[in-house]
Amino acid sequence: MFRLLEDSATDTVTVRIEDREYDVPAGISVAAAVLLCAVNKLRNTPVSGSPRLPYCMMGICFDCLVSIDGVPNRQACQVEVAQNMTIEYQQGAAELQQRE
């Protein structure tokens, strides 16, 4: 996985990934945060169910699709972390959810 190069005292935000809370540097992408927190996958693919983590980090590969604050299929590398953000793994294909 990945680590921070400098332990400079940057601002941090707290995000929840599945059931755990993590403090991560503000301003980084959700995909970067996930790699920093060393979780072992972001999703299981719809076709074979195999685990995936971010691959290109620049918005083209869509391997980092994940559910963020209840919205499925977000590109983790294109979304910045925010205080109290909830990140949940995506299991297989996303399901339509009824809006209230």
Partner: protein, 461 residues
């Protein structure tokens, strides 16, 4: 944000930044849309904020990005960030997605500077967690000061792979091995190109300094490897390949926690294709090029291209192409006359020629290996829909004569990435199986939406 600009520029890398800043200076009402939150593109990503770090391990070239970003931000150009282009047509109507809402912008001129992507490098196990692109590693370094932990292996070839190896070494990161997959150009091909590259001596010296640094650090380098595999169950555990030691062929396996892959970059031609620009296959670069005149004007009416999206030229040349595009557009929009345009272009063209002189050598030295463009049947090609090379070959043997038919029969390229990670491999497989040229084979038809958009976002237009 207005609904019409004289000039709309797509992409805030060196070409787009330079074009926008110059166009604004010449009195053109210009807007620049970009997907990232800060200007710089991928090459100068986060350049305005990580300048301190640049001195230490990112390298001097990166500082140039800050100057370019500042030049743009101080100009009168409108900057629309966090904006994905999801729609584009040949009437210069552009649909962008910002903050969960879609907007349409029309323009008198369009300048596409959507850059490059890394050439997909399909090999067994490249879909395993822990395998990423070298570009991804570099983005993490630039934008978040993050480096891999554990055993790191770099594989592939090209200037970017050398650069990231040098950057990691500068930052004190250990590299377990570098696996060079390029077949290596013969001396006969290299020497004349080397002579032609002499005007770009600075590039040669820089590359040489990277190679020496890697040598000095004692990183094991394996050469001309064409059998690389990533292995592991839930994530990568090792890489394996065969190599020649003495006179014997031996199997090598290296325990690996992170594998970064790279085999050069290819033009991101999706937006130019959508705008109706004609493209041609460049055998030397093994990639598509947008047909353009010296100002960057494409075959599509009022559509300009600059930088790597029209064929790989590198950051400095891309910047200069952006400036040439702005000059011609200013001339067409009657801000400057022919004499002013030509006078201003002289120095730029001279400099551009110098920066381009290194390309033939780089293309020859780092030509991608066939092994990772025509993968074995059991290698995954389409990461989204999980289609393997064997299934694609079978579809071709059944009679699919082009990428679009392969897509219809196998779902290859039908997933969310829309073929970005499989398009070049599918086309290469079709050409190889049918004996057709790449030009005859063509590419996936590009259709909007280029980016997934929800019905809610569309309704908010």
């Amino acid at each position: 944000m207005k609904s019409h600009y004289e000039l709309l520029v797509v992409g805030a890398g060196p070409a787009g930044l330079a074009a926008s800043a110059d166009a604004a200076r010449l009195g053109i009402d210009v807007a620049l849309v970009d997907e990232q939150k800060a200007p710089g593109g991928q090459i100068y990503r986060n350049a305005s904020e990580s300048a301190d770090r640049a001195q230490v391990y990112l390298g001097k070239d990166y500082l140039r990005g800050k100057r370019l970003v500042d030049e743009f931000l101080q100009s009168r150009a409108t900057y629309i960030n966090n904006a994905s282009v999801w729609y584009l047509d040949d009437r210069l109507e552009t649909g962008i997605l910002v903050d969960g809402a879609s907007h349409f912008i029309s323009a008198d001129r369009l300048l596409l500077a959507s850059g490059a992507q890394e050439r997909p490098m399909p090999l067994p196990g490249w879909q395993l967690p822990g395998v990423m692109t070298a570009g991804a590693g570099q983005i993490l370094l630039k934008s978040a000061a993050m480096v891999p932990t554990g055993r790191l292996v770099l594989a592939g070839g090209g200037p970017l792979l050398l650069l990231i190896a040098w950057q990691y070494l500068q930052a004190g990161v250990e590299i377990e091995a570098i696996i060079d997959t390029t077949p290596g150009a013969g001396l006969l091909a290299t020497l004349p190109r080397l002579a032609r590259a002499l005007p770009a001596l600075d590039y040669l010296l820089k590359g040489l300094s990277f190679i020496l640094a890697i040598k000095k650090a004692g990183v094991p380098v394996y050469k001309a490897i064409d059998t690389l595999r990533a292995e592991g169950r839930e994530s990568i555990e090792s890489v394996s390949f065969s190599t020649v030691r003495g006179k014997r062929r031996v199997e090598v396996s290296i325990e690996t926690d992170t594998l970064l892959l790279h085999q050069g970059v290819i033009a991101n031609i999706r937006l130019p294709l959508a705008a109706g620009c004609e493209v041609e296959w460049d055998a030397q670069q093994q990639g598509w090029k947008v047909i353009r005149d010296i100002w960057g004007q494409s075959s599509a009416n009022q559509v300009f291209v600059a930088g790597d999206c029209a064929g790989i030229v590198g950051a400095r040349a891309g910047e200069l192409q952006g400036r040439l595009g702005a000059l011609e557009i200013a001339y067409q929009l009657h801000r400057i006359d022919l004499r002013q345009r030509n006078r201003a272009a002289q120095g730029i063209q001279k400099s551009l020629k110098r920066h381009l002189s290194i390309r033939p050598l780089l293309d020859a030295l780092y030509a991608p290996s066939k092994a990772y463009q025509l993968p074995h049947d059991e290698t995954l090609v389409c990461r989204c829909e999980e289609v393997y090379a064997g299934q694609i070959r079978q579809a071709i043997r059944m009679g699919c004569i082009g990428p679009n038919q392969v897509k219809a029969f196998t779902r290859c390229g039908m997933g969310p990435c829309q073929g970005c990670l499989c398009g070049s491999t599918v086309a290469a497989l079709v050409a190889d199986e049918t004996g057709a040229t790449m030009e005859q084979v063509g590419y996936f038809r590009v259709r909007p939406p280029f980016k997934p958009i929800t019905l809610g976002e569309l309704a908010d237009t």
